[in-house]
Symmetry: C2
Subunit: 414 residues, 2 copies
């Protein structure tokens, strides 16, 4: 089946908000066998919404919208769609009670403005929203034309999509479902060109599947896509290509699909019954943040020190003052001492240490902005690595955190 997506919000068109909902919808709908034939972004003005929804309905007969369901004056998708379908807005008492109960739980009075969120186009299917006050709505006319209205808040949109919309879409397609399905091999610590030289010989064999190189601060992802095949056929072909790619990328590959390097590393640490402590300077907490972003990290991760000022490098991590004076804070000797100091402080057998110059200031001809020293330590074995990382301050920091996690992953894998 084919459909169009309209993401509604002047903030999207003007670029003040990144349209994460568009990506979320693309991924989920493709996996459910629905093809997005067009994605349009329009302003949250009644006339723009009316034109956008009407045109998309004419072309595709099935439209999913996001945004414009909140309680404030700039939210008017519901009103416009009701008019378009010639339906009245009616107050739904159960919805109203639910919204009231939500405010009661938070111990706050319900603002009068939230009452309008309980109004729905007559005959619409209400898609309950466990994560917010605005429900989703499935509005269908006698001719089978459908507009599904979802809220713009990402976690609410996602919940409604997965729990309410996708099951209905799959049911609607019956037996004829063909899917667009992708798999990803994730690499880090290697350039796009170097990967292309490893993978080039395989590429001609991949058709009718397609391959894309997706570089980011985390590394280069290789994504293979199967188009319009039956589910089992798509899965089998993808699995075969993924195996060939993994063999070709070798030690640079750290996982597949949504794999997070921090989660991969945590799993490797867990298998070896290791415990981890970190010492960070230029990344300022980012390595710890990456690790603790994984649920259940507490069985393996003990803690971290953000030794931003040199005085903390000496006081908390026992980096010798002579080392700092002789070699500087961004040096092999300092990063080694940081990794060892973290091992003592946290009684951890494994540590990661990062020190570098994130910029924009602080660079010198010998140590330009982007210079980062990394260390990983497992028991008494230390591996150090110097990288000169490209990008602005944020990118240098993200690349440095990823490189630190990767260094320990590679050391553990040996």
């Amino acid at each position: 089946m084919k459909l169009e997506v309209l993401t509604i919000g002047t903030e999207l068109l003007l670029g003040y908000t990144v349209d994460t909902n568009a990506a979320e919808l693309g991924r989920a709908l493709a996996a459910a066998g629905a093809e997005i034939t067009r994605r349009t972004t329009i302003a949250d003005r009644p006339e723009a919404i009316r034109t956008g929804v009407a045109e998309a309905l004419d072309r595709a007969g099935f439209v999913i919208t996001t945004g414009g369901l909140g309680p404030t004056r700039d939210d008017m998708t519901k009103t416009v769609v009701a008019e378009l379908f010639g339906k009245r807005l009616v107050l739904d008492e159960r919805l109203l009670a639910g919204i009231q109960a939500r405010f009661d739980r938070m111990g706050r009075p319900m603002p009068a403005i939230n009452r309008t969120q309980a109004e729905v186009p007559e005959g619409a299917v209400i898609l309950p929203n466990a994560r917010g006050t605005a429900p989703g709505l499935w509005v269908e006319d006698a001719g089978g034309r459908v507009v599904v209205l979802l809220p713009g808040v990402p976690r609410e949109m996602r919940g409604l999509l997965v729990e309410e919309v996708l099951p209905r879409l799959v049911a609607r397609q019956g037996g004829e479902r063909r899917v667009v399905l992708s798999r990803t091999v994730r690499t880090t610590g290697v350039s796009e060109s170097a990967l292309a030289e490893r993978i080039g010989p395989i590429e001609p064999d991949i058709a009718p599947l397609t391959l894309a190189y997706l570089p980011s601060v985390e590394g280069v992802d290789l994504r293979v896509t199967a188009w319009g095949l039956e589910l089992k056929d798509a899965e089998a072909r993808l699995a075969a290509v993924v195996e060939r790619l993994k063999a070709a990328v070798g030690e640079h590959g750290y996982g597949e699909d949504d794999a997070d390097l921090a989660a991969v590393l945590l799993e490797a640490l867990r298998e070896g019954r290791h415990r981890l402590g970190v010492a960070e300077s230029c990344t300022g907490g980012m390595v710890g943040e990456r690790i603790t972003n994984i649920a259940g990290a507490s069985d393996t991760f003990i803690g971290g020190v953000v030794a931003y000022a040199d005085v903390i490098k000496t006081a908390a991590l026992k980096v010798p003052l002579e080392t700092l004076e002789a070699y500087g804070a961004v040096s092999e000797a300092t990063v080694r001492a940081m990794a060892e100091g973290a091992q003592r402080l946290f009684s951890a057998d494994c540590t990661i240490a990062v020190t570098g110059i994130a910029g924009p200031g602080g660079g010198t001809p010998e140590k330009p902005v982007g210079t980062v020293w990394l260390a990983a330590r497992v028991h008494t074995a230390t591996r150090v690595l110097k990288r000169v990382l490209p990008g602005d301050r944020d990118e240098v920091r993200r690349r440095a955190a990823q490189a630190g996690l990767d260094l320990l992953r590679r050391l553990l894998a040996e």
Copy 2:
């Protein structure tokens, strides 16, 4: 002037990559007086690119594309646009020398595949890319129709947009330039509905400007937009509305436009000649990361401890074991002790401490997932705050970090 944007990449359509370039382009083009009349996302297949570019050219006469300029086989925008304009691809020797020099600087041999990046449609204006190997291209035909090709890598796209594309667009518009301009008042620690009750009385006075409420994990942004006015008129009207909004939101407002709460806090600390240390548990380094994301943080931020395991709370932060046993790690007593411990450890006069249950596990009826205790300390004054934050693990952590920064901001402002 009006134009269309095409973001090219199957990964965007399938949602595997979030289209940050679309937002970046929207913001920059609106500020430069260009109106994006449509934004379309298409797959990186030659026929899809050909159709997409040709249709957009027919409608608007001016198209900006992103993506498909890399060295690998899935990158073919340049070839397709050259065909569409009936131009040959020719090797540009200066470009080739530049790409070669880039690889020389990194001390790596240039893969043969990168040579194709030096080929350009005959007569195209080359937009030099200081951040990567693929240049941008400005291709124009005798009838004045233009396609501007930009790379898909965000930092390269952004650099070319600002340095090469925007100045040419402004020059092209001459004297008749009208702008779409927005200003934002940023708030945190207050709900969208509660803000609406404060601001409701002002809303009718704002026209012809429009107001949008944009909730996120950082708080609720209030964005005012002026449409199609002359630059000076737009700026004056926006400034007046922003002042009224700031007065209405009061203590909940922390800044304007792109203001980052961490930067606002650092500035306040700097003014009072304070120095900051942090103690984090559930946020795992995120508070330190937020602060050190600001260039120049090192004059104010000393360091942080990620006391993830309780043993580090007692060992490094000297939280009494009895406190942890009597009240638990997520409690007012513990967060107070963490804030005090960080003050001693870092010899800092100001500290932030955060402890909570980010989930998905670890919640109890008394302390459900999302329960967070925050403390801010300035000299001997401590303020604590309990919040029950909504969202998944990542959102709870982001909201907690923001709330910790905000608590110290409010305490310093008193």
